[in-house]
């Protein structure tokens, strides 16, 4: 009997070529996925992530070279009073040279002092323990009231705590005359905000939420806040009463009603260790009756050893 012709069975004809193509495509896909997942295109990496060179990181700070010049720098809250005091100091001592730089913040003032770039740092917040541990010497010299300052167009004169929270929280967006409220924030950790928070604890939460939501503009310096308050109708912000009085600024101060005490912050000099003679002479002047009188006259409360 003749053997029947062998017919190729469909199930035996394995699609090798198809499997090969699929495997090749899958490998390509896997390579692409690995490239994408592992982030091989992460881009440039900054050099400061490399291990530090032997002997430590070289500093870019150039210490001051004019020993006869007394240089002060720090928080913007200190500037109006300190500049007035420096002018009075130089006026009474021919040859004395004192420079008060623009605001670099309390932290900047401390570090610039520690770096030796300035002689005296100006702080408007309590000095931290880590700063004290680096040998910072603190000399408080004034206390300033922290107020809610507003553009002169704002009709209100008093703010209740609930109103403050409603304004900063965005629930209240118009003044009684219908004009728009434009709240101006300082950056987180600002000494003025911290002073308000000490008497109105909910203020911290409200400002945190405002930061996260980006509801109001944030200003990083006292000078910027001052200019914004002066030029923005309906503007409201935390400011120093002493700065307003010392500079005769046409801003409206809104009294905070219903709190046990008025928000305030202490202003202090910091030095890297005991103050140098020139710095000590200046501090002595500030603590002198003349200096204290000037401080008081400008709207600040003299504090410190002379008080």
């Amino acid at each position: 009997m003749p053997r029947p012709a062998r017919v190729p069975s469909p199930e035996r004809s394995t699609p090798v070529a198809l499997w090969s193509a699929i495997v090749a495509a899958s490998l390509g896909l896997a390579a692409l996925a690995a490239w994408a997942a592992l982030g091989f295109d992460r881009g440039p990496r900054p050099a400061f992530l490399d291990p530090p060179a032997e002997g430590g990181r070289p500093t870019a700070v150039v210490p001051k070279t004019d020993p006869g010049l007394l240089e002060l720098a720090g928080s913007g809250s200190n500037l109006p009073l300190t500049r007035a005091l420096a002018e009075a100091y130089m006026a009474g001592r021919p040859g004395a040279r004192v420079v008060v730089h623009e605001s670099i913040g309390s932290t900047g003032g401390v570090l610039a002092t520690l770096d030796g770039l300035v002689d005296v740092g100006l702080v408007s917040r309590p000095v931290r323990e880590d700063e004290r541990a680096r040998g910072v010497h603190v000399v408080p010299y004034a206390r300033v009231a922290v107020v809610f300052a507003a553009h002169p167009s704002v009709p209100d004169t008093v703010l209740a705590p609930a109103t403050v929270l409603a304004l900063y929280g965005g629930e209240s967006t118009a003044w009684p005359d219908g004009s728009a409220v434009r709240v101006l924030l300082r950056e987180s950790g600002d000494s003025g905000h911290a002073a308000v928070a000490r008497v109105l604890p909910q203020f911290t939460e409200v400002t945190e939420r405002a930061y996260r939501e980006g509801r109001w503009p944030v200003l990083y310096q006292d000078l910027a806040m001052q200019q914004a308050l002066l030029t923005t109708p309906g503007a409201l912000g935390v400011f120093d009463r002493g700065a307003i009085r010392a500079q005769n600024l046409p801003l409206k101060v809104l009294a905070l009603a219903g709190t046990e005490r008025e928000p305030a912050k202490d202003l202090a000099f910091v030095t890297a260790g005991p103050p140098a003679p020139e710095a000590a002479r200046f501090m002595d002047f500030v603590a002198s009756p003349a200096g204290r009188a000037l401080t008081e006259r400008l709207g600040y409360v003299p504090i410190g050893s002379g008080a």
């Binding site: 982030g39 295109d41 050099a47 990181r57 730089h101 900047g108 570090l111 950056e187 990083y220």
Partner: protein, 465 residues
Amino acid sequence: MRSTGVPAREAGWKQVPALARFVGARMLPLAVFLVLVVGSSAPLASLVLGRRALDERARATAGEVAGWIRGEVQQRPGLWRYDTAKVVGHLRAYAVGEDVDTIVVVDDRGTPLELGGEIERARLLAAPLRWAAADVFVGAERVGAVWVAVSEQRIRRDALLLLLLFGTLGVGLAALMFGIPLRAAGAAELRIRDLVARLERSRSELEALNRDLEARVEARSGELRRTYERLRAQERHLRELSGHALALQEQERRSIARDLHDSVGQALTAIRLHLQLIGERSTDGELARIADRSLRLVDEALEEIRRTVQNLGPAILDDVGLVEALRRYCDDFAERTGIPVHHRVDEPAEPVPGGIESACYRILQEALTNVARHAAPSAVEVRFEAPAERIRLSVRDDGRGFDPRRGESEGHGLAGIRERVELLGGTLSIESGPDAGCTLRVELPRPTGRVPGPARDAGAYDDGT
């Protein structure tokens, strides 16, 4: 036995219809690839696009911070570095998007201006960060740079979520893509098998029907064949009967002719001789005239008897036989008409029945008479042969010829020849044309057996006597 060593899964696969296995073997890699493509394309696209967005965000943030730093440097040369910490710290905490991990400001030497302490190098190295930088220029002097790190954690998380979703979707689609054709192929194969089975049944039924039909046709054909054979036999019988009748008729005519010739003719001849003697010896004139008139009447009667005998049957057949009779007639025709006749008359292999002899003789007579009347040939050729089965006679002339389709209807004597031939079951063919002469062929069958009935009793059909 394969089943003992085949794993359960393979055994299950073997139970799947062949077409479904064939489709499944080709759909499976495509399904796998579909899972990979669908599952990975969206996460990959999300990762790539997310990284682009992150890079763009990092560059934008770096540029924004660099712009702010530039203003600070311009306001406080030398001291600007101490004021960046609070700004950068605030920006890190609030003012940048959730993907911005850190902002580092470096001076012109690349040293970070971290005012709060050392940067978290180990964390930054370990974290999935992407960096972008913007230089800070004051005039033409590069005073520093801003580095912004964005985290890939969110887009990786999103990509993983997409991988889960689209992987599930891909598996579902692949299952559909794999399952639907597989089920369709299985169903199609079952239907095909059912169709094939039905076709097989139909074919079997058709074959049975065909066999039955063939049997019926065979039976019918056999019946028709038998009927045909019976008709052929009847026809043959009728032909033989007619031939026998013709033979009997011919025999009877010859008998009558012989009787006329032998008895009446002899008697009249004797009477003539007597009358002739009476006329010669009578002295009486009146008697002599009566004898002479009687003699003329006897001559007329003899002539009439001779013509009658001639018409009743060619006596020459009885006298000299068919072959010699045909030859003599050819010679007589040539002598009488002046037309040369070339004849070839063969001796028959077997004796020719008397009816056929007469028919052959009369056909030759008729044919040559036609030639003499119509053809005006220069010569005539006659051929006779009588082998065992057939008797053939042909007459060919080179005369003017005629149209065979009109020959019989125009009285060429052909109708009588055809009638005579058909009575004997033979065939007649005429080949002629204008100026093409004419060839007449007659083919007569020999009788196959004795004819029952009167013909058998006569016996003259076979022996011609």
